[in-house]
Amino acid sequence: MKMNGKFTNLLKAEKKPLLKRRNVLLYSIIGVSIVLLIIFFASLGYSNIEIKPFSDYSFADLTKLPLDSFEDAGFFSNESYGTTEATLQSAGIIVTLPIWGIGVLISSSVGFSSAILGSTLNKTMLLENKEWLRIWSKKGKITSYYLFKRVQINFENNRISILKIGHKYRFKIPVTEGLNLNKFGFRIKNNFYIGYFVKEELVSTIHLLTTQI
């Protein structure tokens, strides 16, 4: 019998995009920041770096503004690069670099921190304001969200905690009389039903639990 094309198509695995849009944005920001950092370090090649032991500095020196310490440290403006220079003084290290180097450093730092902060917030907020989470309000009460991807829902006689581990959500429900979740693929461990589900399976899983608890 000739194979039915439609049937084989149905059996084929669904292809998922390798990178989601927000990940592309995140990686772009990190990428640009790395490039800016490379430019910054390259700019150090046009800079004067001098390391002095602490003993060479008086307290007054350390509290001076960087531009003031510029002259005290014995550097002189290097006009050959055609840029205004500034010094960074910290822990006995004096780095003199072009002013645009400082600009690059600041912008790359802002880029890095915003990317890391953005990704952290993004992951944290995955548990908040989501439709699947609102389903619980019909059955139980969402008592607390925790930072780092954990949520707890309290019922009259039961309690569910959901924790996001990597790409999976772990459901933890106390074993009680009359509740049989084994047949739905939950496993008993330390007197708790434990089940792991991916994001696409969340709504159905919650619906399943609301019918059982």
């Binding site: 695995a13 047949k183 739905f184 693929g185 496993r187 589900f197 619906h207 399943l208």
Partner: protein, 134 residues
């Protein structure tokens, strides 16, 4: 009025036919991703036969080189104790549905009684695959 009365009767009859076990089976299947459902259905129709991961991945349309089926589907189904995965050799595994699960047992019953056409299609696919290999 008579027609309406009859239709109500039909709905009541349907309600009594669909028992709790069937509904829970639907719930169980709904908590699985699309490819896991396909794998479970294929295994239910093939029961009591066991198939290898390579055969299953062919039926699911996976590339044999990809090995995604182990990581994404079989490991998960085994962890949930929905399938039995017996590794015959490090690279060859025999896969069966967990008939001890009451919901999957019900699915096997339905598949065996109602799914004869689907069984034929799956078996033809497996035979075709074996012929291609030779």
């Amino acid at each position: 009025m008579e027609i309406l009365y009859r239709s109500e009767n039909n709905i009541q009859a349907m309600d009594s036919d669909v028992d709790k076990l069937d509904y829970e089976l639907l719930l169980l299947l709904s908590t699985l991703g699309a490819n896991k459902i396909r794998a479970i259905l294929i295994l239910a129709h093939l029961y009591p036969k066991a198939i290898t991961a390579t055969q299953l991945s062919t039926l699911l349309g996976y590339s044999l080189k990809a090995r995604t089926i182990y990581r994404g589907i079989l490991d998960d189904l085994q962890e949930r104790e929905l399938i039995f995965l017996d590794k015959l050799t490090p690279k060859v595994a025999s896969i069966r549905l967990n008939h001890e699960n009451e919901l999957l047992k019900r699915l096997i019953d339905i598949a065996q009684t109602q799914g004869t056409e689907y069984q034929k299609v799956i078996e033809e696919l497996l035979v075709k695959k074996d012929e291609d290999e030779w």
